[in-house]
Symmetry: C2
Subunit: 434 residues, 2 copies
């Protein structure tokens, strides 16, 4: 058997400790698959004294991750510190500059500096493994980078945040409000004390930006992602969706259009009969549309220390075997083209629209007229008593449109608001078909 | 850019023609991902004169696939002829003996000779790509061989035959009989004129045998797979499943147990809430349970010329980049251990049992007693008028058991048959939980 692959492991939080444990407890299992032993020779973390339940004897301790990355006896640098700035950024650069492959779970770093880092890696004849950075244990990076290499990808989309999917599933199953489900998720440790990063879609956006670059060969552009969170989704929306044959998911969608790449993270309706609608709880799922393969979908745990460690280990084994010869983003980083965003107003698709319509003669006719003026045709209309509406005369109306454009929907809704026939702001949810 | 990877392509049926078209129409797309041009230099098929809609000018024609495989200007041999014997077998051996990587979609060949071929490949310092051999466009080989390398896999299971899933979905959706749906599938070209290979589970068994070797590091043993087809599944079973919260799928299941590896292809009930239950029509799906990652599932088209060509192209790009350094079955072929089959009688799980019980006092009590004697506890019991049963006094009874063993269920059913309380043979369907 060949020489050991010597690992420098920076970051010993729950994921880092899980990776360390996997590589030591399964040393033989990993070696037979890697074609050689894989050995952690140095580690680095903030607090040397903390008990992590792992035996660090015989492993060198570094206080500076960049020093670990550059250490002479380190062949491969594993970065599990997180954060889009230093020290993670500097340490990863140090490893790549020295021509050493990097394995990372750091989506924020890649979303911010992925293209520069890929160029640095490739200029130095090395690579970056980042399977763990998107959708945890799901092998979506390998799939996009390698498996569908013969395809032109037209769309990649999915459920990229388990916290949001958990909340939406609980609302649906138990008839609870968003606030109640969020509180429950926080109690169970599925959501952070400050949940903004998850529920407003920022976490999904980081992941989508990376998938988008892989799918379309474009530079990463997280800032231009159209972002809407799930805090505006009400139980009424979920119930109406159910009745109309849909489920609501927070989807990240990146799609090639005639005018550019559309990237959005928004609450989205998917048909109940679709495989995506069947993804419940904290699971993630990512679907890829390729011109040869059609649509494939990958489902699994999007987070968790061992699932993430599994993805890190897969990358390490690839590197140990001398594999992972693909470019970091599938094509050479110097050939990634500028990302040209499609405008959301040009978005094409069906829409769910919920309105609180005043209960008076002609109100609904006025609404229907405004839709017709924008050439929007309706697939279904559902009118009901408004829930919890003792203090209002408004009734709930839900419309599902046939395929139209966002600008038409926005114009129609503006006119409806101006007409004064509805009580609150309208709710609008895009529909995504498989 | 480096030298071209020169391909010898044997077999120009629908898949072979799709691969040829992909590599020529997308030459630049493939080259940028492969790091060098990929060029078909020689082809071989049975009928030279046939019009396949592809331009073969400038490509050498061979009548003998083994001669193509051994040709001096061929770097990589792509075998799309099919069949577990010669000429495919001889040609693949010729390529591997010459140290050339092989890409194949031939599940029958691998199920019969996979371990020998892997040993031959590895002894000659080369490899076999066979993503296309199992579940078409779904990257399950790459996932098992590379992505989950850090996991001990406890189970791999899934819907491996699109024809059967199409038939079961149609029966369920339209309330049609097995025979009617089979006839429809044949009319649409989803099923062969002789459907035995698909509907009796042989096709799924070939694929399962390959997945099993990858998952558990065991030698391929197709013959010991326990096989039951879907022709015995009635509309009554599907309706009862629906009422009890299940769906019926033809699953291939390979599972590590205390006494060996259980491999079976059988109609199986899965909970309606599971992602597997949401796989409709001709789609395939494969789930992998790893000790680190948990359960991941991959969904997509399991057949079709372009989906299969996509998988072939992925393997070719891996080879062109000098990747695919993994052993053919994840670990060196010389280290694959003998497959030790678990006995089906030791199978543990829940069971669905449908009985036609004579409508007379004490009949059901006698049945319940036989179950109790075998310590089988029942999760639910459903009794109904028997369908289409003008000429019988029997009533339909459906039982769902809690987890038990197959030997207990078999003994109970034998006793129930001996008691003479039921009209027909009992129907028994195993339940698989996610």
């Amino acid at each position: 058997m060949s020489q050991a692959l010597r690992i420098g492991l920076a970051g010993l939080g729950t994921v880092g400790a899980a990776v360390f444990r996997l590589l030591s407890q399964k040393a033989e299992h990993v070696a037979v698959r890697a074609g050689r032993p894989v050995q952690v020779v140095g580690v680095c973390a903030r607090d040397r004294g903390r008990d992590r339940g792992i035996d660090l004897s015989g492993v060198a301790w570094y206080d500076d991750p960049a020093a670990l990355a550059a250490a002479e006896d380190v062949d491969c640098f594993v970065e599990l510190m997180g954060g889009d700035g230093d020290p993670a950024h500097a340490a990863v650069r140090a490893a790549l500059t020295a021509g050493k492959p990097v394995v990372t779970a750091n989506k924020a770093l890649l979303a911010a500096h992925g293209v520069d880092l890929a160029q640095l890696a490739e200029a130095n004849g090395t690579t970056i493994g980042y399977e763990a950075a998107v959708a945890g244990g799901i092998p979506i990076i390998k799939t996009l980078r390698e498996a569908v290499a013969g395809n032109k990808v037209s769309r990649v989309y999915g459920i990229l945040n388990g916290t949001c999917n958990y909340i939406l599933t609980r609302m649906e199953d138990e008839g609870l409000s968003f606030a109640d489900c969020l509180a429950e998720a926080q109690r169970l440790g599925y959501a952070e004390a400050d949940p903004t990063f998850d529920v407003e879609g920022h976490d999904s956006a980081h992941k989508l930006a990376i998938l988008s670059a892989l799918a379309f060969g474009t530079k990463i552009d997280t800032d231009s992602i159209h972002l809407e969170g799930i805090s505006s989704i009400t139980l009424e929306d979920l119930e109406a969706a159910e009745e109309l044959g849909f489920r609501v998911k927070l989807l990240g969608v990146a799609r090639r259009t005639d005018t550019g790449i559309e990237q959005r993270v928004t609450p989205t309706m998917v048909p109940k009969s679709s495989a995506m609608a069947g993804i419940h709880g904290v699971l993630n799922a990512v679907a890829v549309d390729g011109d040869e393969v059609g649509e494939i979908m990958l489902v699994g745990p999007g987070a968790g220390s061992t699932a993430t460690a599994s993805a890190v280990a897969g990358d390490i084994v690839d590197i140990a075997r001398g594999g992972m010869h693909s470019s970091v983003f599938g094509i050479p980083a110097t050939e990634l083209i500028d990302y040209k965003p499609a405008r959301m107003r040009a978005h094409e698709g069906g829409y769910y629209i919920r309105l609180a319509v005043y209960d008076r003669p002609g109100a609904f006719a006025a609404i229907a007229k405004r839709m017709a003026e924008q050439s929007i045709s309706l697939e279904s209309i559902m009118q009901k008593e408004k829930r919890d509406a003792q203090d209002t005369k408004a009734r709930r109306a839900v419309l599902i449109t046939h395929e139209t454009t966002e600008i038409q929907v926005r114009k129609a809704l503006e006119a409806i608001i101006d007409d004064g026939q509805i009580e609150d702001q309208p709710q609008m949810i895009r529909i995504e078909m498989p």
